[in-house]
Symmetry: C2
Subunit: 179 residues, 2 copies
């Protein structure tokens, strides 16, 4: 049961978005820019960062929906599972591993990010914008995750629903509701 009277039958963050359209607009826009608009990080890489942070925050809805979006971009769920379990052993680029390490520190506390962490990412080819966006994706998912969990939003366990949602997010992005 959600803690407040969210519209029924809208899963996860969609319930909060429908309840308060004023705040939904900038929250959708931020996700769209960070995850969907053109960037030197691929949409799949950015969805992996979002999924990894959401799994560290143990937010079921966000890790399932963004994990499904990442799987859609990257051609399968296995890489998503590997990143969540042990990203250093996952088949992703050394640059993305260094960025995931930064994201993991931001998830705990931004102050844990060290000059050495950033130096490692830069040595693997990360640009300042990529480092900025990694920090902000990780920070933003600390918001989205807490928003979903803190409202007690409905988080269904239906895998096919997340697969459909992931495809919609991968294709259309975050500006418009999926239904």
């Amino acid at each position: 049961m959600p803690h407040i009277a969210l519209p029924q039958d809208l899963p996860g963050i969609s319930g909060g978005f429908a309840f308060r359209p004023e705040t939904a607009k900038p929250m959708r826009e931020l996700a769209h820019i960070l995850l969907h608009e053109p960037s030197s990080l691929t949409p799949g890489e950015r969805e992996l960062i979002a999924t990894y942070v959401s799994s560290q925050n143990n937010c079921y809805f966000c890790q399932a929906s963004h994990g499904a979006a990442a799987a859609c971009h990257l051609g399968g769920e296995e890489i998503v599972q590997q990143v969540k379990t042990d990203f250093q052993a996952a088949p992703v680029s050394p640059k993305l591993k260094a960025l995931l390490a930064i994201a993991g520190k931001v998830q705990k506390d931004g102050k844990l990010v060290s000059a050495e962490d950033v130096g490692r990412a830069r040595a693997k080819g990360a640009t300042d914008v990529e480092i900025h966006d990694t920090v902000l994706i990780a920070a933003a998912f600390c918001m989205y995750n807490r928003y979903v969990d803190g409202l007690g939003a409905w988080q269904p366990r239906d895998a096919s629903m997340y697969a459909e949602m992931g495809q919609h997010l991968a294709e259309e992005g975050y500006q418009k509701p999926s239904r």
Copy 2:
């Protein structure tokens, strides 16, 4: 030293905002709606929630700037200090105390918010929108705090600078840079 080449001499979140105006726009808009636009919670109450969460996250810049905005709205710094130290003993309404308790749980993990926490807030007169906005202010400051700290942004220790910034935020809100 910031971790990336942020514009010099812009303190705290302003450096990140100037570095990436695309993401600054929705981040500013969200803060403006949550903290400055009309609401049944006063701007002072909302700034206290933002300041409390920022102090729990130990983000110097955010607790100093929003604490200064709260002090400007509420006529002094003492109440801000009391809320940060022990909000249950602070001279704020029973409703705000119940909302601060929810905000404190969201800061740690949204899943910690219980039906009892929400019931206590409702018994003190909190509406669903006030509970929603409390959850989202707390969640959003988990983003803003991590963004500032994770970029290694410049966080000056000059109290008069924060007093000036707090007055600007209290009067003008969050849509436009202060300079």
